[in-house]
Symmetry: C2
Amino acid sequence: MTDRVTQSLLDDKARILERLMELVRQPSVSADPAFAEGMAGARALLMRRLHEAGLQAVQELEAPGGHAAVYAEWLGAPGRPTLLIYGHYDVQPPDPLAAWHSPPFAPEIRDGRLYGRGASDTKATVTIAIEAIAACLAAGVCPVNVKLFLEGEEEVGSPSLRPLIAANRERLQADAVLSADGSRASVRLPTISTGTRGMAKMEMRLSTARKDLHSGRYGGAARNALHEMARLVASLHDDEGRILVPGFLDDVRPLSERDRADAAELAADDADFYEGFGGSPYGDPDFTLRERLTLRPTIEVNGLWGGYQGAGSKTVIPCEAQAKITMRLAPGQDPARAAGAVKAHLLARCPAGVSLDFQALQGQSAASTLEDEHPLLVAAEKVMGEIFGRRPVRARGGGTLPITSVFKETLGIDTLRFAFGMPDEDVHAPNEFFRLSSLEEGLRAWSMMLAELGRLKSEDFAPFRRAVG
Amino acid sequence: MTDRVTQSLLDDKARILERLMELVRQPSVSADPAFAEGMAGARALLMRRLHEAGLQAVQELEAPGGHAAVYAEWLGAPGRPTLLIYGHYDVQPPDPLAAWHSPPFAPEIRDGRLYGRGASDTKATVTIAIEAIAACLAAGVCPVNVKLFLEGEEEVGSPSLRPLIAANRERLQADAVLSADGSRASVRLPTISTGTRGMAKMEMRLSTARKDLHSGRYGGAARNALHEMARLVASLHDDEGRILVPGFLDDVRPLSERDRADAAELAADDADFYEGFGGSPYGDPDFTLRERLTLRPTIEVNGLWGGYQGAGSKTVIPCEAQAKITMRLAPGQDPARAAGAVKAHLLARCPAGVSLDFQALQGQSAASTLEDEHPLLVAAEKVMGEIFGRRPVRARGGGTLPITSVFKETLGIDTLRFAFGMPDEDVHAPNEFFRLSSLEEGLRAWSMMLAELGRLKSEDFAPFRRAVG
C-alpha cells in the first residue's frame, strides 16, 4: 500500500535524480581549501531547494574557522515529535583522480548506478530526506516537526559540530535524530542500524634509561625499551586473539539471543572476508566473525615505534618506545574504565626499571545503542518490514560514529541512521557510486518513516531523552 | 730495569708531548668534507716525522673516494717478526662545540690531562708507537720489522680498509697486528685486550595483510602486524633476560675459570653501572654483570616500527611491522649460524597468515680471540707484568672491532690492541682528554714490547697465521 505522498515521490523520481546529480556536481571537498567554491555551491543549492520546498528559517549556521552548516526547519505539527534530521553536504577528496572512470564531479549513470564523489556518502540520502519532506509539504503538511541540520565538516572529523550545537542549542532541541549519513549493513538483507561500537584512545611512552645505549658497552645488562614494549603488547591478547586484560570485559553486555541471531543472518563468508585483504582467520574463537566485528570490543595498537629506523643498522639499545592504542568498545563499557583496565594491566606488568606514561587522546565515546523500545527503532522496523516483506535485521556497526555520541551528550537524544547507501559503494575511494534502485527504496522508506513517526507524540520520546547541562 | 731505548724515550717525554699536541692541533675529522685540510695536515705531519725518524717507503696509500692512509716501514731485522702497526689519524667530529671548555683543536693541559679531540682516540697511542720505533732507530736498530699503517677512515667505519688491503696485499703481509687503537679496560688495573664480541645483523619485515585496515570494519577479526611483531620480539628472552632461542647458545664457548676470574677482577660496582644511565639491574642471572657485558652473546632489537606515528590517533590495524636486530656474538659462535637460529625461531613462531622476510645487513663478524699461547699475548703479559708489578688482567671487550676481523680475513693474522687511553676519557664526546701519566706508561710499554717481540722469530707466529685467498 503506497500512500499519496509516497506515490508523488515515486512519480517525481526522474526529477529527484536530476537534483541529486546537480548536488553531486558541486565539488564540496571540505578537507581542501581549494574547493571553497564547491562548498559554497553545495550550500547555495541546498538552501534554494529547501526554501522552494517550503521549509522555514533556511540559513547557514556559521562555524568560525570552519565550514558553515545548512539549516532549515518546519515546525507546523504541534504536539508531534520533532526530528533533528542530520546529514552532511561535504565529501571526501577525489584523489587519486587517474583511477576514476568518469570524472568525480561529473556524475554519470552506468548500469543502474550513479557514479560520482559523494553520491553514496551521503548526497543521495540527503536528497532523499529533503525530497520526502518536500513531498509532504507539497501535499499540505508534514506529519512531524523537522529541523534539518546538514554539516560541512563530517569528512574532516566534524571539528565544529560541538561548538555549532552549543551556539544553537535552543534551535536544535529535538526528540531524536534521524540521520541521513551511513549505509546499510548488507546488500542482501534489509537492515536497521541499532548502534555502533564506542572508542577509547591513548598513547603510551615506555622508558628504560636516560639515554640510548651502545649495545657493545651495555648489551646483556641493560633493558631494551623495545623488548619491554613488545612484552607489554604481547600480553594484551592470547595467541588466538582473546583479550587477556583483567576487568576489561567485565562490563560488556552479554550477547542476547536476538544479537546472535541477527549476527548470524548477517554472517558473511569467512573465506571471502579474509581474501578481501589477504589475511587469514583470526580472533576470539568463542564468537563468530560478525560478532567479533560488531558486538565485541577490541584493543589495537595502531602505531608503535622506537630506536633506529634508517638505512643499514645502528647498534643501539633504545631507551624509549612509544605506542598508540585504540579500543573499540562494546555496549556496557565505559571508555574511561576500559582504558583504565588496560593501563592497570600494563603498569602491573612493568618490571622495576621500566617506566610507563600514558596520555589520553581526544575522541572517547561509549558504544551507542538504540534501545529495543525506542520509537525510532519501532517505527523503522515497521517501515522496513513493509517495504521488504520481512522483519529487518538489526545490525550493529563495528565502527564508531562520533556524531551519535555528540548528539547524546549535547542534546540528550538518540540517533537512528536511516541511510540507503550500500556497504560496497566505494565511498572514500575512486569510482564511488550509488545504486539507482536504492533511490526508490529510500524515498519510499523516508516518506513512510515520516508518516509513521507522525502517529506519535513528542512525549513518546521522553523516556529515552537524557537531561543534559 | 729500564733499557737504554726506553730511557731515551722517557728523557724525551716533553718533546714527544709537544709532537702529540701538534698532531691533536690538526682537525682531522674524516666525516666532514669541510675538514679536508685538517686531514691533509695530519698526514703531512705524520709523514714528516716518520721520514725524519728513519722509516722507509713513507707514503700515502690512496683510497679512491676516501681518505688516504699513511704508510711507512722498516724491514732491517731479517728473520725477526714483522708487525703491522695499525692506527688511525682521523678523529670524531667535535660537536657540540659549545660544550668544550677549551677548543677541541687547541690542545690544552689541565690537571695532568691533555684535552683535545682525538687526544685519547687515538693520537696519543699513535704518537707513542711512532716514537717507540723512532727511539729504536735512533739507537741504531729496531728489534722487529715494522709496517706502519695509519688509516684515515676509522671514525666513519673504515669503508676503504678492505680495498686498501686488497690493493696493497704484498706490502702489508706481516706476522701479526699491533694496534694503537682502543683503550684499556680499567682505570684501576693493568689489562690486556684479548678479544671482542662478534656481530650479526639483520632486519625483518612482518606482514599480515595486503593493506592497512580500518579498525572499525576489521577490528576483532584481523591480525595486527604490530601485535604479531611484539609477540615475536617478546619470545626472544625470558623476563630476566635469558636468551630463549633454541640453538643460539649451543656454540658459545663455556667460560673458563680464568675467564670468570678475570671478569671478577674487572667487576664494576653494579649500582654505579646502572646509575650511570638511569637503568636498573637486568640480564641473565646465571652470569655476573661483567660476564654479561663481555663474555656472553646478546640479541637486541635496535629499531622497531609500524603503523601510525603522527599526532593524535588513527584507527588503523597496521598490516606491516619492521624491526632491525643485531647480535653480539661470543667466542665460538658463527655469525650466519647465530642469525640462522634466530630466524628459525621467529619463523617457527609465525602463525598462519603472518609472513616474515629477512634481509641480511652488512657487517657480520665472529668474535675475535687472541689464543692463550699467541706470542703477542705472551709478550704483552710479560711487559705489562713488569711495568705494573702484577699479572695483568685479560679483558675481553663487549663491542665489536671490525678491523680485527678484516685483518684476520684478508691477511690471516691476529691483532693485539695495545693502546693506552683509559675508558673514561670521553672519546667521541666533548672534552676528550688523555692522561699524561699514560704517556709514560705507553712509551715504556711499547718500547719494551718491541724489544720483547724482537727476541722471537717470524716463524714463531706461523701456528697462529691463517692461510687466506
